[in-house]
Every structure is written in structure tokens, then in C-alpha cells.
């Protein structure tokens, strides 16, 4: 299993959140409150037509965030 930033996953790929690479605690807490905690499964559903932002599926709902933000979420890429 390889660790990559969330923005490097391809559409349809699944990753398990392993850590955050940001020191901004308020940003980290907002993501966690939205359900992106360590060990959570995230799948990439699609990219916006212009390539950014990303649509992901987490805890059974859809969330969109910019690549710039997804960069700070480190996931373990799962073979799907």
C-alpha cells in the first residue's frame, strides 16, 4: 500500500485517511468534523469539468473540496 495525497487518487480509486499534512488546526478540525478522520474510507467520485475541485464520497455522502485542500489529506491507496 502506498501513501499519497488525496488529490493524486484517480476517479474510482479508494483511499484510507492516514494523516493530515497541514499545520492549520482549524482547517484540519473542519475536515474531521465533516467526517474525514483517520481510518475513514474516501473514494474519488469525479473531478469538476475544469479539473478542480474534486468530488469525494465519505461516510455515505458527497463532499467537494479543492485540490489545494485535498493535498493536505494523506491516504493509503487501496487496490479497488
Amino acid at each position: 500500500m502506498t501513501e499519497v495525497s488525496l488529490n493524486n487518487l484517480l476517479v474510482g480509486e479508494i483511499g484510507i485517511v492516514s494523516k493530515f499534512s497541514s499545520n492549520d488546526n482549524s482547517f484540519r478540525q473542519r475536515l474531521m468534523e465533516m467526517g474525514i478522520t483517520r481510518g475513514t474510507k474516501i473514494s474519488v467520485e469525479r473531478f469538476a469539468p475544469l479539473g478542480d475541485p474534486i468530488e469525494i464520497s465519505v461516510r455515505g455522502y458527497r463532499l467537494t473540496l479543492r485540490k489545494k485542500e485535498a493535498e493536505h489529506i494523506v491516504v493509503q491507496r487501496k487496490r479497488s
Partner: protein, 694 residues
């Protein structure tokens, strides 16, 4: 046990959880919309009956957590924690939980349960959940959460009586055992801080617990007591920071992670998810967010919306105009002529007309916005437009308000409410009036018809069309550039995230859309309408007095305060190429920009408005008696149009900005920057134009 008689019940929940629908179903038309003092957050409350008691239901702004990250969320947190100066702490809470999205909705629900205010969970969106293969055991959920859970479908009025019954059976319980736990060292730290908070700040124990979590997870110690207490608390909090560091515990994350871990373990027992092949939402999204069709659909929808506010609303606007004219002629017949009649007709009535003239556009826009919002499409629109808008420091959701402003900045500014981030919203409000609205078009048309030769370029497009398109582009260019400038300077936010939920698509409810339109329209009439009416009457006064008897309308206007002001500002506007007559026109434009055309008509003694050709000739032939040169040259016409693109001449927009930002600061900033911008750009154009002897 005493029966429980709450007077104020709060309705809390995540955004998109069906909270508004439930609020509408419970309170019907017995609603009141206002503002929380000092902030731009809307305060919505309504009344409903529990047995024979009238209860105030407070619709709190949707939030994902009680740790606020926006002014809206702060209102919700403050009220629920009893920290609000303006609202009493509610005696009971209805917590709305979206069945489609149980885990994340339970995060807020669990925080609310911790507050130990009696709470009922209202489980919504069950039909949607069923369609996407989600099944929830409500009884089990109630047992595991320790609070009543009621299944409701607000649109079909299902479960409302049950919800009311559950509210009646609530009672005040003290010291309910908290069901979720953190690692032992954190629990200990928390307990220690909680105790000192209860002692020093006299917090109740649930509030002290919540505050201790907040203190443990924040970067540095911040509190709100007096100095000596703060010192005591600070010492204990900081010693606990060190303790947790020794245990290698991430204190910023531990509370959130522990809460979610508990929710996950709970959901194993209550939540059954059957993998469906592909939900309807996904199928729709394959079109709506498709690389090509996504934009096709988007621009098609925008086209229809734009058409409706630009063209369709002309019919009701004409009706309103005819109605106003009809009333005016009635007043002229029944009220003896004189100052009083003039005040009624040209002051009050034209002011009222100016206010309700905007209503059709506002209703059309909010009809479409309501549908887009309620169906879930709005967040997709933001999703596909975000990259483009983010280049200018704006949000994906800024697109629709800016587009609407092409029709009229008033509904445009009102529609920025969908932008949650305050800074992004303010930037959008500030630049919205730079988009050329429909009221500028008559001015452009008059100037172009008079001074731009109607020649075809390359055999396909006429020069006047190019000039008008260029004017629109000038507006767009400055709007986007200035938005970027504002976001880098006065509206710099510490961290602007774009983290947005994409709710599943639903069929919009007519009732919700109708309520939305009604609410916006009433808001506009009450808040902005009064200011617009007041200023109209003042403007009428200034354009009428001091009076000159036995004179032509043109002489009277010149003699009035407005006319004098036109002369007064002549030295200021002369560098732009404008004379005092244009100055008077600019003054009159404060009511509505297209008034420029009729003011010019009055000045040049044209009695009927449909006699445009003679107005054109008179303007073309007008000669400055001092220099013997023509007043209106093509350069002056261009300068005037550039000025009209950029200047803030619309007092209705100022009124709406004041209303939407809840203060005079932002309308003044808006008026100030636009005036400076319009003046300097027009000056530059005139200077360069004169230099090249254009």
C-alpha cells in the same frame, strides 16, 4: 413529574438536512424574519402550538458542528450554549438528522445531546434514504442515543403530531451519563478543566464540559472571563497541554475522532446500507457535471433565468408602470393641483413605483434560485464554476449573483446569501453593481444612437453593437479585477476553504420555493423599500424647489436644487468632458439610471418621451456658448457611457447593500470605490481621447 412547558424551542441541524422544510411545516405563515444585531446573519422564528400553548420556534442557522467557523455557525453555537446576548437559551431542541447522511448528522446531534437541554431527534429524508438503499432502525437509534427519535416527512405532514407529542413528553433531566468516551488521559484532563471552569466562570456543567473540549483542542489558551480567573484557568489548561503531549495524544483531533468512533459503533446497530447499482443522483450528475453537457445545461439554465429577469419581467413591470400612471392621473383629477398634488404624484407615487418596479425581477430570480437551491443543483453549479471564479479570489457560488446583476444588482446582491463564507460574500456584493444592469441600457442606447455611426464591420456586426458589448465587458473586467484586489486586501481571510456538501438531488417543493420568494419579496419591501421611498421623496423635493413660477420645465429644473447642484459640480466633472446639463442628468440618475434619458428630455424641452429622434438632434446640435464647440462629441458620449458602467448611481443598490450587510460601512466602501474608479477611468479615457484629438 411536572409536565414540561417550554416557551422557546430551537430547531438545529446540518445544512441541507430538511430543517427549513420542517420549520415551514410546523409554523406555516406564522413566521418572522429579522437579523441578529451586529451581524449579517438572518434570524428566523415562528410560532406553533403544543396543546394550547403557543411556542416560539427558533430556526437556527445550519451548522456541521458547535465549534463555529462562520458568523452563522457562531450564532447557533452561542444560542445553544446560552452565550447569546439577544436570545434566551432554548428550553428544548429539535435536532434534525438527515437519514441519508446519518453518521455526519449524528456528529452535531451528539454535541447537542451533550448540552443536556431536552432534545428530540427528527429523522428526515427517509423516502430518499429508502431509494438509495439506506435503512434505519429508529427505535434502536433512540435507545442508543438516549433521546426520543421521531421519523418525519415534513412535506407530507407525516410525523408532525408525533414530534409534538414527543416534545410534550420531554422533561428536564440532570447529569445524564455521557455515552461516548475519549482515551483515559484526555477524560482526566477534561474533568480537571471542567471543574475549574465551573468554579471560576460559574458555567453549568454541560457548558463547562463543552468549553473544556474547546480549550483542549484549540491552539492557544483563549478565554472570556476576568483576569484573575483567566490566570487560574490558563495555568491548568496549559499544564494539561503538556500532559497530553507526554502521552503523545493529538489534542486537536482526539475529541472529534472519539466522537466519530462512537457514532460508527452505534451505526453498526442501526444503519443498514444496501449497495444500489447507481443512484438517480449519480445518473443526473453524469450529465450535470459532464465536461461538455455540464456546461451546456448550466448555460441553458442561466440563459432561461437571465431571460426571465431581463425580458419576461418586462410585462409585469409594464403593468405596474401602467398602474402607477393610472393612479397618477386619478390623483391629478381628484387632488387640486399645486405642491401637494405634485408631491403625491412625483414624489410619493414615483417613489412607490420605483420600489415595486423591482418586485417582478426579484420574484422571478428567487423563483429560479429557490428551485436551483431546493433541487440540489445550486451546489453543482458552484462545483463546475469554482475553478473559474477562484482565479479571481471568488467562490463558485459567486457566479449566479454576478450573472443576475446583469439584469439588476438588487436581486443579485440579495442572492449572495447562498455564499457561506463572509469574505467571499462581501467581495461579491461589492463588485456586483459593476455588471451592467438593465437600467443602464437605455442610457447606452441613447448615446450610441446619437453618436456612434451605424456602420457594419466585416459585414457581420454593427459598430453600435460592438460598443455596447464592449461596455458590458468593461464592467465584467473591472468586477473580476476588483474582486481579486479586495480579496487580497480588505477582505483577506485567514483561510478560505471550499469544502462543500453535494446533497442528493430532490424534486423541489413548491411550498418551499413559494415561501422563499415570499420571504425575499417581503424583506425587500420592508427594509430596502422604505429607504428607496424616502430618498425618492427627498429627490423630488430637490428637483422641485426653489420654485420658479411661469417658466418652462427646463428652466424650472435648472433653477431647482438639483439644477444648482448640476452647475455646482460642473468644475468637478469638466475634466471628464461633461457640462452642467449632464451633471443634472447624473443627479437625476440617483433614483434609477434610466432617468437620465427623461431628465435630458426635460432639459432639452422635449415633452413626450417617444420623441427620441428630436432629442437626439437637439443633443447633437447643442453648442457650448462659451467656446462655440459642440457639447456632445463622440468622445463625450463614450466618456459618459464609461462613467455609467462604473459609477454607483443607484440608491436602491446602496439601500440593499446596507440591508444585506447590516450596516453603513460596506455601502459606503462600495459607493466610494466605485466613484473613484468611475472618475479616474473616465478621466483617463477623456485625457487620452483629447490627446489623440478624437
Amino acid at each position: 413529574m411536572n409536565t414540561f412547558h417550554p416557551q422557546i424551542i430551537a430547531l438545529a441541524g446540518n445544512p441541507n438536512s430538511g430543517k427549513t422544510t420542517l420549520f415551514n411545516a410546523l409554523t406555516g405563515m406564522r413566521q418572522k424574519v429579522g437579523n441578529y444585531p451586529g451581524v449579517t446573519v438572518e434570524k428566523k422564528e415562528g410560532k406553533f402550538f403544543l396543546e394550547n400553548n403557543e411556542i416560539t420556534l427558533l430556526d437556527l442557522p445550519g451548522t456541521y458542528s458547535l465549534t463555529p467557523r462562520s458568523p452563522d455557525e457562531k450564532i447557533t453555537a452561542d444560542i445553544l450554549l446560552g452565550k447569546s446576548e439577544f436570545v434566551d437559551t432554548p428550553q428544548a431542541i429539535v435536532c434534525v438528522v438527515d437519514a441519508n447522511n446519518l453518521e455526519r448528522n449524528l456528529f452535531l446531534a451528539s454535541q447537542i445531546i451533550d448540552l443536556q437541554i431536552p432534545v428530540v431527534v427528527a429523522l428526515t429524508m427517509l423516502d430518499n434514504a429508502e431509494n438509495s438503499g439506506v435503512e434505519i432502525d429508529a427505535h434502536r437509534l433512540s435507545a442508543l442515543l438516549g433521546v426520543p427519535v421521531v421519523e418525519v416527512n415534513a412535506l407530507q405532514k407525516f410525523g408532525l403530531e408525533k414530534l409534538k407529542k414527543a416534545l410534550l413528553h420531554l422533561h428536564q433531566q440532570k447529569n445524564i451519563l455521557r455515552l461516548w468516551k475519549m482515551p483515559e488521559p484526555v477524560e482526566k484532563s477534561c474533568e480537571e478543566i471542567q471543574k475549574v471552569l465551573e468554579q471560576e466562570y460559574r458555567y453549568s456543567s454541560p457548558v463547562a464540559f463543552f468549553e473544556s473540549l474547546r480549550l483542549l483542542s484549540s491552539d492557544t489558551f483563549q478565554s472570556n472571563g476576568n483576569e484573575t480567573s483567566n490566570g487560574t484557568v490558563k495555568k491548568i489548561v496549559e499544564s494539561n497541554y503538556q500532559k497530553l503531549e507526554l502521552f503523545e495524544i493529538d489534542r486537536h483531533a482526539v475529541a472529534i475522532e472519539s466522537r466519530y468512533a462512537w457514532i460508527q459503533s452505534l451505526c453498526i446497530h442501526v444503519l443498514k446500507v444496501q449497495k444500489t447499482a447507481e443512484t438517480i443522483s449519480d445518473k443526473l450528475d453524469r450529465i450535470f457535471t459532464h465536461k461538455i453537457f455540464g456546461f451546456v445545461v448550466f448555460f441553458l439554465l442561466m440563459g432561461i433565468m437571465f431571460q426571465s429577469i431581463f425580458a419576461w419581467s418586462n410585462y409585469p413591470m409594464e403593468l405596474i408602470d401602467n398602474g402607477v400612471q393610472f393612479l397618477a392621473s386619478n390623483i391629478r383629477q381628484s387632488v387640486p393641483s399645486g405642491d401637494f398634488q405634485d408631491l403625491l404624484v412625483n414624489g410619493v407615487l414615483s417613489g412607490v413605483g420605483a420600489v415595486i418596479m423591482f418586485l417582478p425581477q426579484i420574484l422571478f430570480l428567487f423563483f429560479f434560485l429557490g428551485i436551483l437551491e431546493d433541487s440540489g443543483y445550486m451546489s453543482r453549479a458552484a462545483f463546475i464554476m469554482d475553478k473559474l471564479m477562484s482565479r479571481f479570489g471568488l467562490h463558485g457560488k459567486s457566479f449566479i449573483p454576478l450573472l443576475s446583476s446583469f439584469a439588476c444588482a438588487i436581486p443579485g446582491i440579495m442572492s449572495t446569501r447562498t455564499i457561506e463564507n463572509t469574505q467571499d460574500r462581501l467581495a461579491t456584493i461589492l463588485v456586483a453593481p459593476l455588471m451592467s444592469c438593465s437600467a443602464r441600457l437605455p442610457v447606452y442606447t441613447l448615446m450610441v444612437a446619437a453618436f456612434v455611426p451605424s456602420v457594419m464591420l466585416f459585414g457581420i456586426i454593427s459598430l453600435p453593437a460592438i460598443v455596447i458589448i464592449s461596455l458590458y465587458l468593461v464592467g465584467v473586467f473591472f468586477a473580476l479585477t476588483l474582486a481579486a484586489v479586495f480579496k487580497k486586501t480588505i477582505l483577506k481571510s485567514a483561510a478560505s476553504f471550499f469544502i462543500m456538501e453535494l446533497p442528493p438531488y430532490r424534486i423541489p417543493s413548491w411550498k418551499t420555493v413559494g415561501m422563499y420568494m415570499w420571504e425575499r419579496a417581503m424583506h425587500f419591501l420592508q427594509r430596502a423599500g422604505t429607504i428607496i421611498l424616502g430618498v425618492s421623496i427627498i429627490l423630488w423635493f430637490l428637483a422641485t424647489y426653489p420654485k420658479l413660477e411661469h417658466a418652462t420645465p427646463s428652466e424650472r429644473l435648472e433653477h431647482s436644487f438639483v439644477g444648482k447642484a448640476g452647475h455646482l459640480i460642473e468644475p468637478i466633472i469638466q475634466p471628464l468632458g461633461f457640462d452642467w446639463k449632464i451633471g443634472i442628468g447624473m443627479m437625476g440618475s440617483l433614483l434609477q439610471r434610466e432617468v437620465f434619458v427623461s431628465t435630458m428630455g426635460t432639459i432639452y424641452n422635449i415633452q413626450t418621451s417617444d420623441n427620441n429622434s428630436s432629442l437626439l438632434q437637439k443633443m447633437q446640435n447643442d453648442i457650448d456658448t462659451r467656446t462655440g464647440e459642440k457639447i456632445f462629441t463622440p468622445l463625450v458620449a463614450i466618456c459618459l457611457m464609461v462613467y455609467y458602467v462604473l459609477a454607483m448611481q443607484c440608491m436602491s443598490t446602496i439601500a440593499v447593500t446596507r440591508r444585506e450587510t447590516n450596516g453603513w460601512k460596506w455601502p459606503l466602501v462600495q459607493f466610494g470605490y466605485m466613484t473613484v474608479l468611475a472618475y479616474s477611468v473616465t478621466f483617463a479615457v477623456h485625457f487620452v481621447g483629447t490627446f489623440f484629438d478624437f
